[in-house]
Amino acid sequence: MESPLHHFELHPIVHLSVGGLDISINKAIIAMWVGLALVFALFMMVAGKGRQLVPGKLQSVLEIAMEFIQGMVDEFIGKEEGKKYFSFIASLFIFILTCNLIGLIPGSYTITSQIAVTGAFAVGIFIMTLVIGFAKHGGHFLTILIPPGIPKVMVPIMIPIEIISMLARPLSLSVRLFANMTAGHTVLAVLFGLAMSASIWIGWMPFGFTVVINGLEIAIAFIQAYIFTTLTCVYIGDVINLH
């Protein structure tokens, strides 16, 4: 029987290397391209037709999604400041959600179950918050390491604690998404392995569970995309407002 972690393994389909750098194309990359194409096509289908005053089905769905993200950005970053970051946050949410959902189609690949992908997102966001902070506040930005209203004696203790809690942000951001997706798909793989190895008299039971858990995974795909983007908003809001 196959190991439940077998489907996370990646094997190159097309071998490519540029200057000693291995850029072979594997399942994950293809899944990511499909995700990108899907998001692009979805929005172009609406934008290309021209926005209607009375929205059609697809336009309503996308408008609701955008309003939802707008609410999130307004709440955590602020109405005025948030405008600059809205397109970034919206792309992030839609792309992660699409990646999570693509992974639920049997036979495809969950890109967000690779810590390299979630880590790249999280580190990118972390560097972005640092750049925004320094651009907005200059050297004054470093006071984010000293919480307001603490006695002077505590400052040397608080600075390392604050540095660790700052550095923990990208780590927890990436680990949360990666771990939730990996765990969910491992559970699915274990149950499906049980269904396949048992006889039909008992095998229908784990198979039924895979169907139920697939439904749960759809909810988790939404929730994880939501949490990832909310926390991005919170982090950007933190460096803009400084306490």
Binding site: P160, I161, E162, I164, S165, L167, A168, L171, S172, V175, R176, A179, N180, I223, Q224, Y226, I227, T230, L231
Partner: protein, 90 residues
Amino acid sequence: MSESNDFRQGLGIAFRLGTEMTVATLLGAGMGYGVDHFFATKPWGIVAGVIFGGAAGMLNVFRVAQVMTKELEEERDQNNTSSKDQDGKS
């Protein structure tokens, strides 16, 4: 709509708090281990790292919880005022 919103926020917080503390503690321990490795201060780097990391984790969780209680209190105030309004009308 507001009910599903509450549910989503609750789940968001539940997923957040769990990882927040573990990750900060592990990161502190890792940084302490690195200090030990490069400055030959075994075992004090990792000891200090775990303590600082744990403190950072606590701080993160505390901050999330603070936001949470603030939201709850605001909600309670709103409910109180709205119920008072209803009383005044009736």
